[in-house]
């Protein structure tokens, strides 16, 4: 039986989703996709590692691509903390709850703490600051493709979402939306937020940990279409996987791409504001397709099944739960 919780005095202060690290097989090809199609700006490239940011972002990077001969994977997801003091508090916290926490060196980042919450959870890199670069938001001639604005959130699947969500809520992550199993009342999927909109981290029940997508904000439908149109021109037309379409509240319009290694990037429009404590989380019936995707035929099968693994972590456990019933219904629609 799940109960949402809001920890008003978290042990340290996470401010927002910060950056994701992907392993890719061909860095030039990936850069072509991220800059020409999606519209990321290359902040720096050092050897086999490229650092990219959205046109609105002053922080040095929100996606890091590293060439690797290993299978495509994510190294970790990143979260910003308010200041370096928070990293030391964080280290104490993780060690006290049986996780791991290690200060590491990362180029183009301030002090950084790599953490895990224990088995079945995604590795999270906490960072206290980044070099600041000029925003390209009003440098219109320099903008390309979908003119991606900024990172918004990640979606992770984990084998025991109720337990893992509890660990994040203890860090001050606030639920904006969730669904539970009709019989057991156990959590099946949840949207968690630190910044002033409904999502920094979305989690659902499935074999994991895996990373179904990272979500970035674009300005309007025109930007979504432009990215898809350029994807078509550059030979990535079939990597426009799902959408444009709409998610139910508190989300909005979406479009999903697969990058050249299959990592999934979601484009969303500017999310709604989510600040006031009396604004309680939405719940939805996990058997009700409409509340998640109010119109259209739903995602293709591969959208439901293919997800980025975390490097060096075997995906395990977690029967796929009823939160996917929507997509099953939708798939039936799209197949008849």
């Amino acid at each position: 039986m799940f109960k949402p919780n809001v920890e008003l005095s978290p042990p340290f202060d996470i401010t927002r989703a910060s950056h994701v690290r992907y392993l890719v097989s061909d860095l030039d090809e990936s850069l072509r996709f991220y800059t020409e199609v999606l519209g990321f700006v290359l902040s720096d490239r050092e050897g086999d590692v490229a650092y990219l940011r959205g046109i609105e972002e002053a922080a040095h990077h929100s996606v890091v691509l590293t060439k690797s001969s290993d299978a495509p994977a994510a190294e970790c997801i990143g979260m910003r903390v308010r200041s370096e003091v928070d990293l030391h508090k964080a280290r104490q916290h993780f060690l006290s709850v049986g996780g791991t926490a290690e200060f590491i060196e990362r180029p183009f980042q301030g002090p950084t703490l790599l953490t895990t919450f224990g088995e079945g959870t995604p590795p999270v890199e906490l960072v206290a600051g980044m070099p600041v670069l000029p925003r390209l938001l009003n440098n219109f001639p320099a903008q390309k493709g979908g003119r991606v604005l900024r990172l918004d959130h990640y979606q992770c699947v984990v084998p025991d979402v109720q337990t893992t969500a509890g660990k994040f809520m203890a860090l001050g992550f606030r639920p904006s939306k969730y669904t539970t199993h009709a019989d057991t009342g156990n959590l099946l999927a949840i949207f968690l937020s630190r910044k002033d909109n409904p999502h920094d981290l979305v989690m659902a029940q499935a074999a994991g940990p895996r990373l179904p997508h990272s979500a970035y904000v674009v300005s309007d439908f025109q930007a979504m279409f432009r990215a898809a149109d350029i994807a078509g021109n550059l030979g990535y037309g079939r990597q426009v996987e799902h959408g444009p379409g709409r998610h139910g509240p508190p989300n909005g319009p979406f479009l999903y791409f697969r990058d050249p290694d299959g990592h999934r990037i979601e484009f969303i429009l500017p999310p709604m504001q989510f600040i006031d404590p009396e604004d309680l989380p939405n719940t939805w019936d996990s058997n009700d397709a409409v509340s998640l995707v109010p119109w259209g035929g739903g995602p293709p099968q591969r959208w439901r099944e293919e997800m980025t693994p975390f490097a060096g972590i075997e995906s395990a456990g977690g029967t796929v739960a009823r939160w996917t019933s929507m997509t099953e219904t939708a798939a039936e629609n799209s197949a008849n």
Copy 2:
């Protein structure tokens, strides 16, 4: 072996696609869908017949809905001629080529000639004028749903598209795009135009005559999404069948709806101009999916198979040709 042809001195002057007549099972339900979701304006309703126009249209109607206990069907597609004189010339033409042509009375229409081109062709109603009503294009508070602007074109499937297209080209319909069988060179699908854009009538090879869709123009992506969003609110979310997406040139963005009886309405954005005679038709490789749908997963199976029959006319003949290979490829994509 197909050769495109442009008849510069047609026997009479067709100016544009004009209106479609659909039989529906529940007129109130259909009106709700056409006005609240798609944004049509009700021009008149007399008993079991309703006349609708887009917000840009001054002509009395571009879609006529008639309640019927028969199976859902289209009665005919309508074309405008320049003047009444053209109807008399048209009658002579149709009788001389072995078709039929009969003057009939239609409420809210000027002189009207109901014609057929012979077996396997759609019935076409030629009309010389309509009562004029106020445009609602700048009456913003009165606009609803997708704020549909105007009728653009029809798509028909016919069992012998090369022969049927020839009959329309003899009437001055001008090809803007077509594809032929890789081996025989026979026509498989063609876009034909009378007005100043690339399509009044699109035809493809399949058992027929049937009417896969009627296409209407909306102003921008926002209008497409608004219609889909309201469809979701009003319980028609699964009738947003395919899209938003993009067709290859000379077409553009699309979104397909199914009305409550399954009649398919396409929304398109304002088409390009197509006037100059030296502007030769595009051709495309019927085995090449990309040229028709440059990105995304392609239409669901039902989009390819379900089409409105014409009332009283049995669909026959016409093996489905390779112009559908695109959608087969797409369907594979969407199923893996």
Copy 3:
């Protein structure tokens, strides 16, 4: 006392507004503005002459820029005719009504006839065809700035608009909108059309002939803003002269730019369709500002007064008539 007229059997067949020829002082600077800001495509450049088209256009050019040490001016406006036969008919017509008509050589054009309608009228170049180049409509990476789609119409001022409009109506130009003097009933301003929308040539009463603007179609508000935004980036911010705003029907949203020589380019959104003969012209009260600009503060003074002259033709006559009352009211608004 003005009476609109539609000549159904014109002496020859003009199909659409085709191209404008501007003299410019610095061709490189002008090309920067037309390609980077407005989004034109350079079709060809030969010495001091550059030929540009919109991304939708297959015809070789819709604007021709010629470097000249003379004061900035327009050489002529261009109109397309259906075929070369029409040019010979046109020559006979112009000579028979006391105008001039001379076949001339123009690079990248088919047979071309330069004509005048007599004193106080703009020179018009009739052309029977152009080389065809690839459309860039679906070549998204190649598109820049406002991604201008195509030429739509010209606005000319002439000292005796009623007489001049009569000459164009005799050629089959059809009025879609006009206003007359409240006391005399004489024509003050008129929108005339040959293609399937309400305007190829707009004319108003003022000292002339002069060319207030050429109007080009862009896809949506986003394209308008993008052009203005890039204008700001490239140092042309104050040349975004008026708008974005809305004109009353049958027009729509607008944005006016001044090119580096002060030639005025209007961006409009895709115009409505205008085909049916029973669709009579709108009239408006020339004392009523609202019907022309339904909201906002109206244009700046320079928008009303500064216009491109025609090369070698002295502007004369034509007291500025009440069709400008709107802009006077608006200017008062913007100044209080």
Copy 4:
């Protein structure tokens, strides 16, 4: 000499701009404007007081309109605090710094503290919570006009902006942008933020306190135009005062309306994110028009001079400073 400051441990926790209270002369007329044109939702009306919210807002109201026979004025601007505890801390703070702070009863609000910062500052109402109502964000048929999403910020002018800004920075308001006098280095205008974007309160130097505008977020250009278009239809066309246009970073597109009493409402598009502490405030040269309005002719004179007074507070002091030089330049442009 101004120095920006960020107080990391403010005496109490303000979370965001919350609501504004306007006195209006005709409540029905004002409601027509706010609901039909701008798209606000009426949450409640009790006698002469109406409570409105944007379609995204769950909090009960973001604008309160009170019918009054007094001259049009604002009663106060409202700010949200995290919890009731913050109100008691706030009361202590205001009393300790020589201001006033009084708990008051407000319908449809939680505990509320009315405060002043001393002479020349706007009255601010702090509120710890509001009743929650359903969001209409995904109730598309219920949305009207510009479909205003939510309150974003206020602009106030005060006679001593440097002193007043200092008082707000002591409460944790963080500068995102400011300009100073070229000679003295004294503050002329500043953007201050509590929530995760660059502005909750913008202040500039002028006779005051007065309230030039309240700013609300809308989804896209289409929403801006729709509001303006409906304003035109409903007789408010000349109350579309300035725009659509663009402000320089960190702002974006804008459109200014005057309500029936002259209160000015700004529409903006979704603002950029502003969270990271290393993201230092922009500065701009107060003599440089371009940095504030990169393109277009600039605002009309009345935009610069007409502002809502605060009820019962006489506007005084404050020579209009050079931050308006932009608008002076722009006005010259628009008048030549």
